[in-house]
Symmetry: C2
């Protein structure tokens, strides 16, 4: 299994956009994330459709955040990127005819459902504004001669 890092990735991108108070191009964001511009456009596509970010073509174009950061939760972002799977395990077969399988699924399913519900509730409890504030705090805690937060 390759681990899905879209949620982590898009949150990262959004915070970078929030720092940079002007439109950022896919290329700039891709450089910061060490990935490909198309990956950025894909990942931000869902957020555009959901109205969280805005994109502009042509000169001076790029991506901007379309809402107050305090009005966007991690849950919103998760939903906007298409609610990817949260759990790494699943049932061997859905809708099994085998009664043994049914008994196993009946034991596992509610546990997974509750864990997912917990996770989503946690996501809903954190806004991007809080993430940005945490980032600012980390900046402030840094040795004073370091002036920026660029990547290697």
């Amino acid at each position: 299994m390759k681990r899905d890092s879209r949620l982590s990735g898009v949150l990262h991108v959004l915070l970078h956009m929030a720092e940079h108070r002007a439109p950022m191009t896919s290329e700039q964001l891709a450089k910061a994330m060490q990935t490909n511009p198309v990956v950025i456009r894909r990942i931000l596509g869902g957020l555009r459709d959901a109205g969280f970010v805005h994109s502009e073509k042509g000169h001076g174009g790029g991506w901007t955040i379309a809402r107050d950061l305090a009005a966007i939760t991690m849950r919103d972002v998760y939903d906007a990127i298409g609610r990817p799977k949260l759990m790494a395990m699943g049932n061997r077969t859905e809708a099994p005819g085998c009664l043994v399988e049914q008994a196993v699924n009946a034991a596992l399913d509610p546990a997974f459902r509750d864990a997912e519900a917990l996770l989503l509730a946690r996501f809903a409890a954190v806004t991007l504004a809080e993430l940005a504030a945490d980032f600012q705090a980390r900046m402030a805690a840094r040795p004073p001669h370091i002036k920026d937060h660029h990547h290697g």
Copy 2:
């Protein structure tokens, strides 16, 4: 990402063994699970090392359960198969230098940790004896003219 179904699978196998009160060969179990005998041996290997099942070579050999079903929890089984990943998502990078990434990870990590803890607690609360009882209840609830629970 391919979804891990080892836990579901091994629970299934164990219940089948519990039903059948004589050694079952990898081949028999593989037929019931519609998979390959080697897959069964692999999946049961960890449980043998943990002392939950016993394997015997040669004529009349095969797999047997080595403990009281009431003394084995789903958590024990999860541990015995090597504690596979529970969460389908991860951080883009561990140990990031980027402060933005650090802020994102700091928000996501505790949520994932808590969800995993919840899941493991749920696993620990269910014994194989309970699963077997649930299976028996399902058998009893079936139309009476159906005499076995074999697979297609």
